[in-house]
Amino acid sequence: MDLQTLTYLVVGASFALYIGIALASRARSTGEFYVAGKHVHPVANGMATAADWMSAASFISMAGLIAFLGYDGAVYLMGWTGGYVLLALLLAPYLRKFGKFTVPDFIGDRYDSQTARVVAVLCLILISFTYVAGQMRGVGIVFSRFLNVDISVGLFIGMAIVFFYAVLGGMKGITYTQVAQYWVLILAYLVPAVFISLQVTGTPIPQIAFGSPVVDGGGFLLEKLDRIVTELGFGAYTAGAKSRVDVFFITLALMIGTAGLPHVIVRFFTVPRVRDARMSAGWALLFIAILYTTAPAVGALARLNLTETIQPGPVGAVDGNLAYEDRPLWFKTWEDTGLLRFEDKNADGRIQYYDDTNSEFAETARGYGWRGNELGVDRDIMVLANPEIAGLPDWVIALVAAGGIAAALSTAAGLLLVISAAVSHDLLKSVFARDISERGELLAGRISAAVAILVAGYLGYNPPGFVAQVVALAFGLAAASLFPVILLGIFSVRVNKYGAVAGMLSGLIFTLSYIIYFKGVFVAPFAENVAANWLFGISPEGIGALGAVLNFAVATGVSALTPPPPAAVRELVERIRVPS
């Protein structure tokens, strides 16, 4: 059977599984549509949260990012896991005790203010749509690379599948498909990682391979990697290039942002009890950690494989570099996609891959007769091409395709659900159409989910130029707008609606302006995005952490100057602080 047919079979089988689950778990009430009737077992919720959280970016891009960032890749590894500690200790149990359906529900009730509720909805929609556009794009890319269909067809199939289980099943349908998607994506990630660890280091466990010697000599994996990349002018793999200040703030912004993402928070509304919410966060992080502790090993192994393929002999020797006509099959396949690019600058018929931006290395390179770096590598191929680079069987490649699609679909569905709940529940039921019946609200929920899917599909097909640049935006905004007011709403009885609204708006506007100032969204950037121009040396990726600090300061300050919240609010806070 050829690879194409096999891929169709594996991806098709995974779709059949998702649809079967969706049919078995249709939502019949608003409670089931928004929070799966609060009947989800904490371990199942942990798996669903893991699939919800790990997006196309985690699955496809992260290991590749780490492969090229080296030590600096730690910002993603710590940032995207450490947030769960904040979530488990500071938010999840109390929001579960609060017992309603959405994040704006809590902000609106706790601050006793429709303005606060609407501002929260605004932040939520901004965060979630930024995020979902990237997911739909991921679905399209995987389809077009592995199934050889047009990106629009891939998108359409993806939308149809999500439509089916999100609109019919609501949170209940999404939860159980996410459990299945977790298994598909984690298998698809681990199988190639185990094979490659075994090939390179002789140990099947990637986390151990990370600290092991390589089998073909040359010492420990990371030492060898440091040596061969510095010989080519690159920075040492274990050293990193970002400033410590920037690494600190990016990590903090990603942690706070993770804890403030509505589609993640709302998953903890679906378990039966407060203590289930605490345990469930632990399970979620455990399931996430399986992928997140494998990723740095995959990154290091992939970087080693790539470098050794291009530079099989000694650096500087004429025949030390791979001859272009001897390039392996996977090289040709990925050249066709445009994600690998070769340009023979010194016309020697061989590929030179080195850091030509390193001025200290420039003279050495000239001495070798090199005239510039000749290989362009898109970091996204590091995970997708891994099975081919390692020469793994076709079924592994088919599995990776199914895994990439599972990661993108599960996150997209979770995001679409919080968007639809924000519209049907927080805007209609709570503000603009308060006398709507339960059946009417459920119908409104389904319709807004359907509309959100169409918008997401459109954004995936015509991605606004800024999507790639504004991943930072979703985290920055979640960190600077929602997280601080939810936290203060639980741990302070004194912060009132004036503080909350002022805090959210100042955090939001500050973070948004800083990112637009350096990255330019809809307008051209106002200043060059370099460390010399940054405030306190913090890049736009890390500015959300400062935005959160500002939000805390403004919310507390304004509340101190205005009257305390009413007695009913104080009772609400005291109620959510205890489990029973």
């Binding site: 500690v85 904040l86 986390q207 990370f210 010492g219 009890r273 345990m279």
Partner: protein, 84 residues
């Protein structure tokens, strides 16, 4: 707030402070601020600071959440505010 509930909340805050201290030390401490110092030590093929930044902190986070959940269920029962 009754004294019982107030004591319960104080116990919770103490536990949260303890866990967040560890959270900060393993990630921002060992993985970022002290990374160069810890990198002087190498265990197996990995420098310790680098290991905390890319592996160790994540293991610590997982253990921390389960530890918090377990300690809280003990505190819940001690104050009679558990759910069953």
């Amino acid at each position: 707030m009754s004294t019982n509930k107030s004591n319960y909340w104080q116990d919770n805050l103490r536990l949260v402070r303890f866990c967040l201290t560890i959270w900060f030390v393993v990630s921002f401490g060992f993985g970022i601020l002290l990374v160069d110092v810890l990198n002087q030590v190498q265990i197996g093929g990995v420098r310790l600071g680098f290991w905390f930044a890319q592996q160790g902190s994540i293991y610590a986070f997982v253990v921390l959440i389960f530890y918090y959940a377990w300690r809280m269920s003990v505190i819940d029962r001690a104050h009679g505010v558990n759910e069953d």
